[in-house]
């Protein structure tokens, strides 16, 4: 019988680079979105989870947050908030949806878009340096216990980075549970945890809850 491939947890160090792109209103945001590297779209949508506060802000990505709080165009902010990396499939698709949303909004606006009342939007990209956390798991219980302990950046690396930038299937957790442990049902449940629905600690809690239920089910 072949030995189970262990799951090796990786966290990530992050370094934020300021890019020479900025916007003062929705039209400039649109123009810059067409030019910035795709890593910047990732940084302001999925990677905004890395610094999301404990109590999540009203808008789920940096674009909608800026339009809502600084430009004070609530209509556009709400539409940008609905651009969902979880369902978009790729970051290029996210970029297309953001651009289409802003274009449509500007077409129907009729007047010049309002300027930011405060901060301009500054584009960033994030550099991630993966580092093993020292945790490995061969069983579901070991996996659950390690997940409860690891630095929160491991949640980001294995769910967001793996899925949306590195293109590793449904994320590393679901892939390992489905592949190495042969638990397709559980893998499905893990893959359906929307990582954009809260802070990374909240995502950890939801994973632990799903894993806890599965372990209890095995024991029963």
């Amino acid at each position: 019988m072949s030995e189970t491939q262990p799951f090796v947890f990786l966290g990530c160090l992050e370094l934020n680079e300021l890019l020479p792109h900025e916007a003062h209103d929705a039209r400039e945001l649109l123009e810059q979105l067409e030019r910035v590297p795709i890593e910047s779209v990732f940084c302001h949508t999925s990677a905004s989870l890395l610094h999301r506060p404990v109590l999540a802000e009203a808008y789920p990505n940096d674009f909608s947050l800026w339009v809502g709080t600084e430009v004070r165009d609530v209509r556009l902010a709400e539409r940008l908030a609905a651009v969902d990396p979880f369902h978009a499939g790729s970051m290029e698709r996210v970029r297309e949806e953001l651009i289409a949303t802003i274009s449509d909004h500007l077409q129907h606006l009729g007047t010049a878009p309002p300027r930011s009342q405060g901060k301009r939007f500054r584009f960033f990209q994030v550099h991630l340096v993966p580092v093993p956390t020292g945790h490995q798991a061969r069983t579901l219980v070991e996996f659950r216990d390690a997940l409860a302990e690891v630095d929160v950046s491991a949640l980001f690396y294995h769910t967001i980075e793996a899925r949306y930038r590195a293109g590793r299937g449904r994320g590393d957790f679901a892939e390992w549970v489905g592949g190495a442990l042969g638990r397709a049902d559980l893998a499905d449940r893990l893959a359906h945890i929307d990582p954009h629905a809260g802070s990374l600690e909240r995502i950890r809690d939801r994973h632990l809850s799903v894993l806890g239920d599965a372990i209890s089910g095995e024991a029963a």
């Binding site: 966290g11 160090l13 992050e14 370094l15 934020n16 680079e17 300021l18 020479p20 610094h51 506060p53 404990v54 109590l55 802000e57 709080t69 405060g118 901060k119 500054r122 960033f124 550099h127 340096v129 580092v131 093993p132 956390t133 020292g134 302990e149 690891v150 630095d151 929160v152 950046s153 491991a154």
Partner: protein, 399 residues
């Protein structure tokens, strides 16, 4: 600042987010043997306090970290001060001779200092010219802790080509960064939760300090910590307090360092406060870490109402002590807060008064916002996060 206790990274387990210290140790192992040298022009001040800590903690992690001091003649100190003011936007006379002195001092120090490292980080403008003598073996980063958004153009035009000889620049805030052709990274300042300024304090110790400062604790305390300068708007804070006072029996404490000669607002503040026993104006002693710790713990609400500001890390220090913050949108203040969650951002005296009244009328909000603020600081503004940023910088630039 008096040297604090010799802390190990392990000591931060009690305050850092879950898993953080272990992850930093693992990250340090990955970079073990890398050599990281910092260069600054002074052994004193907030930057020096931070460097003292970072050298110890990064070395503890396995990164060989050292700190060198660039020195110059007496006139170099004057040149440094003028350059610092000009970069901050205060018009100065900057002569060719002053710029030549900057370059000469850089060259002199390059011969004297031990800069053999994988990464050399030069802090602020005075030693910026060191890079002109750089070799190709090391990577060089310029760390600018100032706001360059309104730097004097003549000076910045002269410095920019020098800065662009670095491999990258690090700024504390995007809005403080100047346009450059090299990569620009943002590393927020952070607080040390185990320092004298931020460590836990017993109620009796806190009471002793408050008694020494002669501040009764019989009413809710509104606190602003900051220089008695017009740009920190202490008189505006007094006006906001007066609007609040019509509805709530509170005290106002304004605490700041002794004013620099000329241009300070201490006289105006003392005059405005002189007829109200519930306003305390505290001119802090040198190295007032324990006093500030006690004041922030005793406060009910922290206020930061500058009109123009640097990063203003006092916001994070107050939030770490569980206090909601009423702050303006100047400098780094709004970047440390989550508006309406850890406090409120305001633009006017009336706005500050309204938000203070709202909190005093809803005391359960004070506790909730204070707790959210402490957690926000734990994840984003502790020394452990800044160490992580430095490790990322080393890994990224020396890969």
């Amino acid at each position: 600042m008096a040297p604090g206790p010799l802390l190990k990274l392990d000591d931060y387990r009690q305050v850092a987010p879950r898993g953080t210290v272990d992850f930093l140790m693992r990250s340090g192992e990955r970079l073990r043997g890398k050599r990281f040298v910092h260069v600054s022009a002074s052994r004193y001040g907030a930057l020096a306090d931070w460097l003292n800590r970072v050298v110890t903690l990064l070395s503890d992690l396995g990164v060989e970290t050292t700190w060198e001091i660039a020195i110059g003649t007496a006139d170099f100190d004057q040149v440094s001060r003028a350059i610092g003011k000009a970069l901050a936007g205060t018009e100065q006379v900057i002569t060719e001779g002053m710029l030549a002195r900057l370059r000469e001092t850089g060259a002199d120090n390059a011969r004297r200092l031990r800069l053999d490292a994988d990464l050399v980080m030069v802090h602020d403008a005075p030693p910026v010219g060191l890079v002109e003598q750089r070799g190709e073996a090391s990577r060089w980063v310029w760390a600018c802790h100032q706001d360059l958004s309104s730097a004097q153009p003549q000076l910045w035009n002269a410095l920019r080509p020098v800065v662009q000889r670095y491999d990258a620049a690090v700024f504390t805030l995007a809005r403080f960064a100047a346009p450059l052709s090299i990569p620009r990274f943002i590393v927020y300042p952070a607080i040390d939760p185990l320092s004298e300024r931020n460590r836990e304090m017993t109620r009796s110790e806190q009471a002793l300090v408050m008694d020494r400062l002669r501040i009764p604790r019989d009413k809710p305390i509104l606190l602003q910590v900051g220089p008695f300068e017009r740009q920190h708007d202490p008189v505006g804070v007094i006006n906001a307090y007066r609007l609040v006072k019509r509805h709530h029996d509170v005290r106002l404490v304004l605490a700041g360092p002794p004013p620099a000669p000329g241009g300070d607002a201490l006289g105006d503040v003392q005059e405005a406060a002189s007829h109200d026993p519930d306003i305390a104006v505290i001119v802090l002693p040198p190295d007032p870490q324990i006093e500030l710790n006690a004041l922030e713990r005793a406060a009910t609400i922290a206020i930061q109402k500058p009109l123009k500001a640097d990063f203003t890390i006092e916001v994070a220090t107050a939030m770490w002590k569980g206090k909601p913050v009423i702050g303006t949108i100047a400098g780094g203040i709004p970047f440390q807060m989550v508006a309406n969650v850890t406090g409120y951002t305001v633009e006017t005296v009336e706005g500050a008064a309204f938000r203070i009244r709202h909190l005093l009328s809803n005391p359960e909000l004070i506790g909730r916002m204070g707790a959210a603020g402490r957690e926000h600081v734990r994840r984003n503004f502790l020394v452990t996060r800044r160490l992580s940023d430095y490790l990322a910088l080393i890994a990224h630039l020396t890969r």
